[in-house]
Point group: C2
Chain length 176, copies 2
Amino acid sequence: MSLPHAILTALLEKPSSGLELTRRFDKSIGYFWSASHQQIYRELGRLEESGLIRALPSQGPSRGSKKEYEVLAAGREELAAWVARPEDPRPIRDPLPLRVRAAGVVGREGLASELRRHLELHRAQLAEYEAIEARDFPAPETADRLQHLVLRGGIDLETFWVEWLERALDEVEGSG
Amino acid sequence: MSLPHAILTALLEKPSSGLELTRRFDKSIGYFWSASHQQIYRELGRLEESGLIRALPSQGPSRGSKKEYEVLAAGREELAAWVARPEDPRPIRDPLPLRVRAAGVVGREGLASELRRHLELHRAQLAEYEAIEARDFPAPETADRLQHLVLRGGIDLETFWVEWLERALDEVEGSG
DNA sequence: GGACACATGTAAGAGGTTACATGATTCG
DNA sequence: CGAATCATGTAACCTCTTACATGTGTCC
């Protein structure tokens, strides 16, 4: 039940249309959540129906023409409640370490190239985040500290992957 | 499409029943994948139907009595192919950093206690993994290097969370 | 035989992915 | 007006979660 809250947060930061939200999910929200446009449109419909957001007045048909949403008081309250609501960490599900383990059983053929490919992808993501940090959070800061904290999380998580993949490649190429 | 491959790996390491698999998923497989017993029984059925595994001969009804599975040649081949198959990293979805970001918009009420709770959970998980490492991988090793690598991944990932949560708590308690 | 752990299974529904459908706007 | 892009939406399907159902073996 996190997608609706991710959307509420994004809409509070700035009222937007579905496609704009989709793009923002690809960027900053995407540090820790992702969603396709199909998911977002469906969820916007549900949120509107439950009275947590509303579409800004506009004319024209529903298909094809832009529709902007803003958060209502009930939506802000729901989001504030969610921040404090106890919710356990999600179980982890990442196929890559699983594949490394499988390689230990059935052989390492083809593993190294996949590890290299993933390493490059994570390095690129890390570089992107670091560029964002340099641009948006220069110098000892005063504001937006929580948003910076989330970005640091993204950076540190990508750093973890890069380092783990480097070690994995050492192991696989060194002895395989 | 990773659950079937996780099961194939586990069954190759040791032929097992559904419940035994469930327990092993809670332990070592669980470093990077989790699954409920419902998922596992369903997937075992599918894998058997596709001819990748088979149930070891036994008598008795299907409900209530133990049923062990082993991997067939086709299953081993499928797993080896999966190790080498290009597959992009999964999009990240973690609600906790999202909640931190939401707190930046609607206020930090109740956030610190959730962060503390998660910090304790991750510290406990980290301690558990480190105990496993001390027990199963003492001294400069010779074998099981890939499995150790996966465990190190689990340890480093938990370490990331612990450090990020400590920083987050500093931020939230220090100024909030 | 009652309680309890062991063990397998069914069903409904939410969340996510993939593929496709359709209208509006802009630019050459 | 044709093509590309912007923009919203539908449908089918798969995975995962939650709740429940049912049978077996053991110990008292």
